[in-house]
C-alpha cells in the first residue's frame, strides 16, 4: 500500500500517500466536528474568514501573490457534510519541484502558508478582524440564498432536508441566514478556539516523496507544535447498519418558475445483514447507477420521460436518493415507473449479467480512485472516519462477493421515506 498514517499527537494525524502519477503535490487539512444547528453556520463563516488572511499573510491578495509566485499554487477551502460530521477542508496544490523551469523549494513554503491560514488567524479586540468578518458574513448570506439557483441541486438538498428533519444530517452545510444575525467577531472567535482544540484534525500529503522529511517539516512547524492533544470529538461512521422505523411516505411539493420538473425520492434501507453497505451499493447500481440501470433504461430510454434519471447511494447514512428531471405533466407516470422498478428488483427481475455489469461498474470506479489526488485522499479520509478500515483491494473483493439473493433480500427492506417534487 502507498498509504501510511502517522500520529503527530493525540487527535492530530498525518496521512501520506506516495504516488508518482501526477505533476503536482497536494496538501490537505481536514477538520471534523459533529454537525449541530448551533455551530453549522458559525463553522461555515469561520472557514471563509480564515482564507481572507492570517497573522503572517494578513490579506487575500498577499496570499494570492505568494501562491502565484509559487507557479500558481492553488489554495482552496470548503465545507462538506460526511455522515453526521461537518468537515472543514483546506487544500493547497503545487507543481512538483521536478517540473519547474528552475529549481525551487516549494514543500515547506506550502505547508507554512497552509498552517498559518488555518492555525494563526488575524485577531483584533479578541475577535476576528471586523472588516473580514463583515464582508464574509455578507458573502455567506449570499451563498445560502443562492441555493435556489441550481434547481437540480436545490431539489436534492430539499429532499435530504425533509427526509432528515430535526436530525444532524438534514442540516444545510453552509448554515442558515437567521442564525448569521446572532454572530459577532468575538463569539465567532470563541467558537474557533473551541473547534481547533476539540475537533479531529487530519493532514494529508499526496505526491512523490523520496524520503520522510515531510513528517519532520510538519512536526517542527510552530503552529502544529502549539496544538493541544485532544480526545477528538467527531461522529464515527459505522460500517454495520441498523434497522430503522418504517414510516408512511411523506410527499412534499414546491412551486417555482421552472420549465422542467425535478423529482427526488429518498429511500430507507432497513436491514442488519452483514456487509449491507456493499449489497446496497450493488442494489443502487442496478437501480440507477448508470446507462444500464433500471431507471435509466425505463424512465429515460423506453418511455422518454426524462433526460436525467438515476440514483445515488449515500454510504455513511445508508440511504438512496432517486433523481429525475421530468416533464411536469408526467409526474404520475414517472413515479409509477420508478415504483415498478423498485418492485422488479424485489421480485428478482434482474439477471446475473446485470449484477456482473454493476460489479464491474463499481470496481472500475474503485480502481480509478488513485487516478486523482483528491479522490484518493477522500477515500482514505472516509476510512479514517469509519470504524472499519477497508483497503481498495478488500473493497473490490467485498463488492464481488455479493449475491443475487442478498440484493433481493435488501430490496424487500427498502421503503420510500420522502417524495419531493419541484414544479411550476
Amino acid at each position: 500500500m502507498n498509504y501510511i498514517k502517522k500520529d503527530i499527537k493525540k487527535g492530530v494525524s498525518l496521512h501520506k500517500i506516495n504516488t508518482n502519477k501526477f505533476k503536482t503535490n497536494l496538501y490537505a487539512v481536514f477538520i471534523a466536528t459533529p454537525l449541530k444547528r448551533e455551530d453549522v453556520t458559525k463553522n461555515a463563516l469561520i472557514t471563509s474568514i480564515l482564507r481572507r488572511g492570517s497573522k503572517n499573510f494578513p490579506s487575500q491578495d498577499l496570499i494570492s501573490k505568494k501562491l502565484e509566485e509559487m507557479y500558481g499554487a492553488s489554495f482552496d477551502c470548503g465545507i462538506e457534510k460526511t455522515g453526521d460530521n461537518q468537515i472543514i477542508k483546506f487544500y493547497l496544490e503545487t507543481i512538483n519541484e521536478e517540473f519547474l523551469p528552475e529549481q525551487e523549494e516549494l514543500t515547506k513554503k506550502s505547508l507554512d502558508i497552509l498552517f498559518d491560514i488555518i492555525l494563526n488567524p488575524l485577531i483584533e479586540n479578541n475577535g476576528f478582524k471586523k472588516e473580514y468578518f463583515d464582508s464574509e458574513k455578507r458573502n455567506l448570506k449570499q451563498i445560502i440564498e443562492s441555493k435556489i439557483d441550481n434547481k437540480r441541486a436545490y431539489s436534492f438538498e430539499r429532499c435530504i432536508e425533509e427526509m432528515f428533519k430535526n436530525e444532524p444530517y438534514g442540516l444545510y452545510k453552509y448554515g442558515y441566514v437567521e442564525d448569521l444575525e446572532k454572530i459577532t467577531p468575538q463569539n465567532l472567535y470563541e467558537q474557533y478556539k473551541k473547534l481547533i482544540s476539540n475537533a479531529k484534525i487530519d493532514i494529508f500529503v499526496s505526491g512523490e516523496q523520496k524520503d520522510d522529511s515531510i513528517l519532520n517539516i510538519i512536526k517542527e512547524n510552530e503552529k502544529i507544535i502549539k496544538l493541544n492533544e485532544r480526545e477528538a470529538e467527531y461522529i464515527e461512521n459505522k460500517e454495520n447498519t441498523n434497522k430503522t422505523e418504517v414510516k408512511e411516505t411523506q410527499v412534499v411539493e414546491e412551486h417555482m418558475q421552472v420549465a422542467q420538473g425535478n423529482l427526488v425520492l429518498g429511500l430507507n434501507i432497513n436491514t442488519e445483514i452483514e456487509n449491507a453497505k456493499f449489497v446496497a451499493s450493488l442494489y443502487n447500481a442496478i437501480l440507477g447507477g448508470g446507462a444500464n440501470s433500471k431507471l435509466f433504461q425505463n424512465v429515460r430510454e423506453k418511455q422518454s420521460l426524462a433526460y436525467t434519471a438515476g440514483s445515488t447511494y449515500r454510504r455513511q447514512k445508508n440511504v438512496i436518493f432517486i433523481r429525475c428531471g421530468i416533464e411536469i405533466k408526467n409526474y404520475e407516470k414517472a413515479l409509477n415507473t420508478i415504483k415498478d422498478q423498485l418492485k422488479d428488483i424485489e421480485n428478482g427481475e434482474f439477471s446475473q449479467e446485470d449484477i456482473n455489469n454493476s460489479k464491474e461498474l463499481i470496481s472500475e470506479s474503485i480502481r480509478s480512485i488513485n487516478a486523482e489526488q483528491d479522490t484518493e485522499i477522500t477515500y482514505y479520509y472516509g476510512q479514517e472516519l469509519s470504524d472499519n478500515f477497508t483497503t481498495i483491494e478488500e473493497y473490490i473483493e467485498k463488492i464481488n462477493s455479493v449475491t443475487k439473493e442478498q440484493i433481493q433480500e435488501i430490496a424487500k427492506t427498502i421503503s420510500i421515506n420522502t417524495i419531493y417534487f419541484l414544479r411550476d
Binding site: 502519477k21 501526477f22 505533476k23 503536482t24 490579506s59 487575500q60 491578495d61 494570492s64 501573490k65 501562491l67 502565484e68 509566485e69 509559487m70 507557479y71 500558481g72 499554487a73 496544490e93 503545487t94 507543481i95 521536478e98 517540473f99 523551469p101 464582508s135 455578507r138 458573502n139 449570499q142 451563498i143 440564498e145 443562492s146 441555493k147 435556489i148 439557483d149 434547481k151 418558475q257 421552472v258 420549465a259 422542467q260 448508470g290 446507462a291 444500464n292 433504461q297 430510454e301 422518454s304 426524462a306 433526460y307 436525467t308 421530468i326 416533464e327 449479467e353 455489469n357 464491474e360 461498474l361 470496481s363 472500475e364 480502481r367 480509478s368 488513485n370 487516478a371 486523482e372 489526488q373
Partner: protein, 426 residues
C-alpha cells in the same frame, strides 16, 4: 510516426497521419492504470451549411443536427445501445458536441481492447430509422428544456448575441424543440457520410501504451472508406464589430449574473498559442485573484469570487468572456474598462507581469495530471491545428512587450459587450 516532445514536463506524443487521412495522436504515460481514448470529427453546431464532396450537393441543415447525430450514433440495428455495452464492460463512456467538433470517448482501467472494438464499431456503423429518430426527439427535447432553465447557459447565449449579428456560433448546440422536429434519417445520413469520413477525424489515446502496437490495433479496426475530397463549409462572412453592447433577461436567480465580453475581430493568427497565453496572463492581471480590481470589488461586496475567465476561438469566431455573479454588473464592467485603459496607457508592471506569467505556467502544467484532460486537450487543439505542447514550449517567448501589444489589439472598447440575467421580482 512523428514524435514530439516536451522536455520541461517530461511528456512525449506520437502523431501519425493514416493513408485514409485520419490523424492518430498517441500520448504514452507510465505507471498509470487509467487509459483514455477519444475520437472526434470536425463537425459541430456551427457547420450548418456545406457542399458534399462526392455529389457536389449543397446541404442546409436544421439547428442541432451534430448533437442529434451524436445521440443517435449509439443505437445499433440489433436494438442494443453502444453506451450500455461500454458501460457493461465497466468503462466510463460518453460523447459530447461543441461548436466545432463532436467526440466519442471512454476511459477505463480494464477491458480497453473490448471497449476499442465497440467504440470503433459503433462510430463506423450508423443506424437511423424513422422510428428511432422520432423517439430521440422526446429525449433531446427534455435536454433542451434543462438548458432553458439554466441561467448560466442563457447568459452565455445572450453574450454571443451581443457580439455577433450573423454567425453560426449563436446557434444553440442542441438546437430548439422546433428545429429538431425537422430532423430526418436522410439529413443524418448526409451529415454522417460527409463528416464521419476518416479524413475529417482525429483520434487521441493516452495511457500506458506502446505507440506502434496501439496504432496497429486501431488500424486493424478501421473500415475501408473511399477517399473523399475536401468538405466545403459555407459560413456567413465574418463581421467586424459587435451586434449590440448590452442584453438582459430575467430569471429565477438569487443574485444577478453577468458575462462581459470582448469580441476579438482578428481571431486566429500564426501566433495563436502565444496570443492565447498572452490573453490568459492579461485576464489574470486585470481581474484575477491578486488583481487590484478584484480586491476592490470583493471588499466592496460586488464580487463573491474570481469571475470565470475564458478565451474561446476557432476559425469562425474569437472572443473573451469574463463571467460571474454580482449585484452590480455595471460596476464590474466599469472597473474592468478602467484597468484596461490604465494598463494601455502606463504599460504593465514588471513584477506583476512576471508573477502572473509564473502562475500561468503552473496552470498549463496541472493540465497534465489526468489522461482525460490530456487527451481532450490534444483533440480540441488539433481541431484548430495546434500542438498542445506549444503552450509549455513557447512560454518563454511571451514577453511583456508582446502582451502589451495584445492588450491594445484585443481589449477594444468598441468591442466590449455585457449580458446580464437579473433576478425575478419576488
Amino acid at each position: 510516426m512523428e514524435r514530439i516532445e516536451c522536455k520541461k514536463i517530461k511528456e512525449e506524443a506520437y502523431i501519425e497521419k493514416l493513408e485514409n487521412g485520419m490523424k492518430v495522436i498517441i500520448i504514452p504515460k507510465h505507471n498509470l492504470d487509467k487509459k483514455y481514448i477519444i475520437w472526434g470529427t470536425h463537425f459541430g453546431s456551427i457547420d450548418n451549411r456545406f457542399i458534399m464532396p462526392k455529389t457536389n450537393e449543397e446541404v442546409f441543415i436544421p439547428d442541432g443536427v451534430a448533437h442529434f447525430l451524436e445521440h443517435k450514433m449509439f443505437e445499433q440495428p440489433d436494438g442494443t445501445n453502444s453506451l450500455d455495452t461500454l458501460m457493461a464492460l465497466g468503462l466510463d463512456a460518453n460523447a459530447y458536441t461543441t461548436n466545432n467538433h463532436t467526440a466519442y470517448l471512454f476511459e477505463c482501467t480494464n477491458n480497453f481492447y473490448k471497449g476499442l472494438d465497440e467504440l470503433m464499431d459503433y462510430v463506423q456503423h450508423p443506424y437511423f430509422t424513422d422510428e428511432n429518430v422520432e423517439k430521440e426527439k422526446g429525449i433531446i427535447g427534455q435536454e433542451i428544456k434543462m438548458y432553458d432553465d439554466e441561467p448560466g447557459w442563457r447568459l452565455y447565449m445572450n453574450a454571443l448575441d451581443c457580439m455577433y449579428k450573423d454567425n453560426p456560433i449563436k446557434i444553440d448546440i442542441a438546437g430548439s424543440v422546433e428545429s429538431i422536429s425537422k430532423i430526418t434519417p436522410d439529413v443524418l445520413y448526409k451529415c454522417y457520410n460527409t463528416f464521419y469520413n476518416p479524413s475529417n477525424m482525429i483520434m487521441v489515446v493516452c495511457g500506458e501504451f506502446n505507440p506502434s502496437e496501439i496504432l496497429n490495433e486501431i488500424k486493424s479496426r478501421l473500415v475501408q472508406k473511399e477517399e473523399q475530397g475536401e468538405i466545403k463549409r459555407i459560413y456567413p462572412e465574418k463581421e467586424k464589430g459587435i451586434n449590440k453592447n448590452y442584453k438582459e433577461d430575467t430569471m429565477e436567480v438569487s443574485f444577478p449574473i453577468f458575462a462581459i465580453g470582448y469580441k476579438d475581430d482578428e481571431g486566429i493568427n500564426r501566433d495563436i498559442v502565444k496570443k492565447h497565453i498572452a490573453i490568459e496572463i492579461l485576464l489574470n492581471m486585470i481581474i484575477g485573484k491578486s488583481s487590484e480590481a478584484y480586491k476592490e470589488l470583493y471588499e466592496a461586496g460586488e464580487l463573491l469570487s474570481v469571475p470565470d475567465l475564458d478565451y474561446e476561438f476557432a476559425e469562425q469566431y474569437a472572443h473573451i468572456l469574463i463571467s460571474g455573479q454580482s449585484k452590480n454588473p455595471n460596476k464590474i464592467k466599469q472597473k474592468i474598462e478602467e484597468i484596461v485603459e490604465k494598463y494601455k496607457q502606463k504599460g504593465l508592471e514588471e513584477e506583476h507581469f512576471n508573477r502572473i506569467k509564473k502562475k500561468t505556467y503552473g496552470d498549463y502544467v496541472v493540465e497534465y495530471n489526468s489522461v482525460g484532460n490530456i487527451a481532450r486537450m490534444f483533440l480540441s487543439d488539433s481541431m484548430k491545428n495546434i500542438n498542445s505542447f506549444d503552450y509549455i514550449e513557447n512560454f518563454n517567448e511571451v514577453t511583456k512587450e508582446y502582451v502589451e501589444e495584445i492588450l491594445k489589439n484585443v481589449f477594444k472598447k468598441d468591442n466590449l459587450v455585457m449580458s446580464v440575467i437579473n433576478c425575478k421580482d419576488k
